[in-house]
Symmetry: C2
Subunit: 252 residues, 2 copies
């Protein structure tokens, strides 16, 4: 069975892509809303949280886990694979790196993701001539979670963050955070039209369909949150266009 986790609700963009392709696929989702966000916390704390999240999913029966959080994907994969050797993990960075085109590539993400340098390393490993322009956009996550995606203030903040990338005339822009597809309009209006926007959920699902097709069987769809609330259910239901009733998860 598929397990999917994120620091909060951003990872639901992966669920949305999964349901768009396989409407009845069974999965368990975990959002660590009691400790969200992860992106501005230290690597040590992020690794500890990631192991606790994965342990919950493994105990619920997950055999394949989609790490729907770029911060965890950037910082905690070695730790996860060592701690749970029998579980197959997919993360959101490698698929996005493969999907980017051109010699000049922009990357945006949380401070922890950008600070890890993981996109730059992976892109340069693919082709040392690739030039990478990275920018942390730490206010994007709260803006999305406040549902401010379409406000003029948000467009201005996006323009401020993306200005260095726009000036460099990149070929692709990797959205290095699962929240960011939800503010695609503000991002698109801050960058040249010809730039290829790479969003991780879609790139990730392409790979899961190839390498773990057996996990896409029909089954129960369960949503767990460490801090479930009516507000979280409302946002999740609106994003996924179906009723979500979050269940309380106790981590250990």
């Amino acid at each position: 069975m598929l397990g999917i986790f994120d620091s909060g609700i951003g990872g639901l963009t992966v669920v949305k892509e999964l349901l768009h392709r396989h409407e009845s696929a069974g999965f368990v989702y975990l959002g660590d809303t009691a400790r969200t966000p992860y992106g501005n916390k230290s690597p040590e704390t992020i690794r500890r949280y990631a192991v606790e999240d994965a342990r919950f999913l493994v105990e619920k029966g997950a055999t394949t886990i989609l790490v729907a959080c770029n911060t965890v994907s950037a910082i905690a994969m070695d730790q996860l694979r060592e701690t749970f050797p029998a579980t197959k993990f997919f993360e959101v960075i490698t698929p996005a790196v493969s999907a980017a085109v051109g010699k000049k590539i922009g990357v945006i993400g949380t401070r922890a993701t950008i600070g890890s340098g993981v996109y730059e390393r992976q892109l340069k490993a693919r082709d040392a001539a690739i030039q990478v322009i990275s920018q942390a956009c730490p206010l994007f996550v709260p803006l999305v979670e406040e549902n401010w995606m379409h406000k003029s203030e948000t467009k201005r903040i996006a323009r401020t963050y993306l200005e260095p990338i726009r000036r460099q005339q990149v070929d692709s822009l990797i959205l290095g955070c699962t929240h960011y597809p939800l503010m695609l309009d503000a991002i698109k209006s801050s960058i040249q039209k010809r730039v290829k926007i790479v969003d991780a959920p879609s790139a990730l699902l392409d790979i899961v369909e190839k390498e773990a097709a057996h996990e896409l069987a029909s089954g129960d769809q369960q949503y767990f949150f460490t801090d479930p609330s009516a507000a979280t259910d409302a946002i999740a239901s609106r994003w996924l266009e179906r009723t979500v009733n979050g269940i309380r998860a106790e981590l250990k």
Copy 2:
């Protein structure tokens, strides 16, 4: 000894006011940076976190605790006083309510604080004729923590949030979050000049000096964080204008 805690670094505005008045006062500060912010989490989760924070300070020897977090002050004081009957607690709401003047009072805070209705209840208990205009400003905390206080985007966001309060021509505006004194400029430029701005740290210290003067003796000054980092030390040192070396706190 004084203990002071907050969900993160916002409560350092209380430390700043304390040090401004009593430079050598001894205290233990705890910032729960591993789980910050609290303001958009559920009441049940906030109460659990508050008890764990206070337990840490009590075990460090605190006999008087300043709850330097409006969200906890709004939601968890009964629970704290029941769990630690031998400890004297001061919170940040009652002092601010006492310091506000006029018949029309604006209140801004996190979603949890405003949703609790605590300011409105306390102001109306003082005088039923007082009209209260409340507004949650959930983006202010991330804007302060990103050090975006003086950016034009922040001024625009402040103007958007404060517009309903400005229109009502209030007499006082209570800053119902310990982060907000740090963005006083953006707040002042969004509201009429004649409005009395009430900031909790100053109102709180007035009361502590009256009711717990014996706790203001000289002593060690210790800063604990659940997720200490160089970034947190840098922000804390800049705000307090002295070197802060955060120590790791393990809560239970």
